[in-house]
């Protein structure tokens, strides 16, 4: 099945099979945000706690396809202990990777800050999703949900 291995990389399947940082924090003190993909019924629910400007801990539950759940799991690993600015920056880079349309704006935006570009690390494995446009929404669901959560807290 040519092509599928671009989408379903081993590391993605690994995050899907064993999601990291799975669970819920107590709210309050944590903040809870839910995201839905109305087209396919995917759901994620994030609970996270800030310590000053830093995401002290973030846990995830949800149901959905391998891409949405793996992307959420990878995100949970990537954002623990990061500052809100770093997380916003990372989200921009991730979304730029997901969409050619956002790339020009996103990349410019990301590098215009003189903060050194963040390592995408494992997240790079999700690059293959771009070849399957209908799945981009699956990959970005948890990230958009986190942005909503940060906006709700006005941080």
């Amino acid at each position: 099945m040519s092509g599928l291995e671009d989408l379903y990389k081993e590391i993605i399947l690994d995050h899907y099979r064993s999601p990291r940082h799975h669970g819920e924090l107590e709210c309050p003190p944590a903040h809870k945000t839910e995201g839905f993909n109305p087209l396919c019924g995917d759901e994620v629910s994030l609970t996270f706690e800030l310590q000053g400007e830093v995401i002290r801990e973030l846990l995830i539950t949800g149901q959905g396809c391998s891409i949405s759940q793996a992307s959420a799991s990878m995100m949970s690993t990537a954002v623990q202990g990061k500052s809100v600015d770093e997380v916003r920056n990372l989200t921009r880079q991730f979304k730029a990777m997901m969409s050619i349309h956002e790339e020009s704006i996103g990349a410019e935006d990301a590098t215009s800050k003189d903060a050194k570009p963040l390592e995408l690390g494992d997240l790079d494995a999700l690059k293959g999703v771009v070849k399957f446009p209908v799945r981009i929404k699956c990959a970005t669901l948890s990230w958009n949900t986190l942005l909503t959560g940060l906006d709700e807290l006005e941080v």
Partner: protein, 409 residues
């Protein structure tokens, strides 16, 4: 009699390859493929008689009008309607339901009234009522389901209390369930309620007779029955349609317009404001001719045979690993197979199938209340039509195991 075995050759799209495989189209419940005769009929209209209808006195305008009205007459015969004037052309089944809700509902519903629908309706037969209910304050009530995917009619008498309209699908687009429309219609009529039927999944697949069904109104959509997109039908009994006020206003739907008002046109034009989708109507007429040349009882028999085959081979091979929602017997259902395989997400399953050229739909199929009842967010749905054969089912069956291996936890 059965269907010709080389039917696929009538559908140009089906000779294509995708991802290096001959396409296997198993999504006809979403939209069917179109035979050459339909594509040609629409082309011929544009090439030879393209002109607006019901207006010009010149030759091609007269021919266009005649071709359109001939299609209307063929549709009437196709569904057993007593008169061609009872065939109202709309954009799709969704618009047909909006027409019923706005026109009949707007005139007849208020606080204390009830519209009865069911837990297996498509959003097209839910949301128009919800929109109107928010304005008019009537109650929307739901017929529940049994555990094997039928309508639970055990409490129907109680549910019918105060009901003015029953609006139910003849066949579920998720479960394949064929509903006992005649029985429901008779019981609706016995309490003075009207019976509207969603025929979107029924009319394309079974011989249809509106009088035998006992319906007062029937909605269906052209693109699921070998016809083009952008054309649907509302059928209604003459007296009922005559009593209903116009839906959209504009040209075509009037006899006279004065400063102080207008006089609506006669049926069916009263409900057809503006220039109609002429090519699409002619295309739908050709689709009806095509289906009638096959014979609708042959179409139905083909689907029973193929559904039976699919249920058998899928269950034999996968047993407990596979859930197929809806009634277990092919004779009680249409060729719509909503499947859950191991815990492979429907989205992932359809992606793997796509790599093998197999088109199935993953999602909620515009039936979210039903998905909640089933306790799932989505299903992968394979649906059958005249051009599908056992080889298509075999390809589907063979492709589930590799998907399972890929995602095995």
């Amino acid at each position: 009699m059965s269907l010709p075995s080389d039917l696929k050759s009538n559908f140009p799209l089906l000779s294509q390859t995708v991802n290096g495989h001959q396409i296997i189209y198993l999504d006809s419940a979403s939209s069917s493929q179109k035979p050459t005769v339909v594509i040609e009929a629409m082309n011929d209209y544009y090439r030879t008689i393209n002109a607006n209808v019901h207006r010009g006195a010149y030759e091609i305008a007269a021919q266009a009008t005649e071709a359109m009205e001939r299609a209307r007459a063929r549709l009437a015969t196709f569904i057993g309607a007593p008169s061609a004037n009872e065939i109202v052309f709309t954009k799709n089944a969704t618009e047909s339901f909006n027409l019923i809700a706005r026109s009949w509902g707007g005139d007849n519903l208020g606080p204390g009234d009830v519209v009865l629908i069911s837990d297996m309706e498509h959003h097209a037969n839910i949301v128009p009522w919800q929109i109107l209910s928010a304005e008019k304050g009537f109650e929307l009530r739901w017929i529940p389901l049994t555990s094997d995917g039928h309508l639970d009619l055990s409490q129907l008498d109680r549910l019918l209390d105060g009901v003015k309209m029953v609006s139910v699908t003849a066949m579920s687009n998720v479960l394949g369930t064929l509903n006992p429309i005649r029985e429901i219609a008779d019981r609706a009529h016995s309490v003075g309620a009207l019976m509207a039927v969603d025929g979107s999944q029924y009319v394309p697949h079974l011989p249809t007779d509106v009088v035998e069904l006992g319906a007062d109104l029937l909605c269906f959509t052209g693109h699921k029955m070998c016809g083009p997109t952008g054309i649907g039908v509302l059928w209604g009994r003459t007296e009922l349609l005559e009593a209903m006020p116009p839906f959209l206003g504009g040209g075509e739907m009037i006899l006279d317009v004065r400063r102080d008002g207008f006089t609506p046109n006669e049926l069916p034009h009263k409900f057809e404001a503006g220039t109609p989708p002429i090519a699409e109507i002619i295309g739908l007429g050709a689709a009806v001719d095509f289906l009638e040349s096959l014979g609708m009882s042959n179409v139905r028999q083909h689907e029973i045979d193929l559904t039976d085959y699919a249920l058998r081979v899928l269950n034999d091979r996968y047993g407990e690993e596979l859930t197929i929602h809806g009634p277990p017997n092919a004779s009680e259902r249409g060729g719509v197979l909503s499947i859950q395989y191991q815990d492979v997400h429907p989205h992932d399953l359809s992606q793997v199938l796509d790599q093998r050229g197999i088109c199935v739909r993953a999602g909620h199929h515009c039936a979210k209340p039903l998905m909640r009842e089933l306790g799932v967010g989505a299903t992968a749905r394979a649906s059958l039509y005249v051009y599908n054969d056992e080889a298509d089912i075999d390809a589907l069956t063979a492709s589930l195991a590799p998907a399972g291996e890929l995602f095995a936890r």
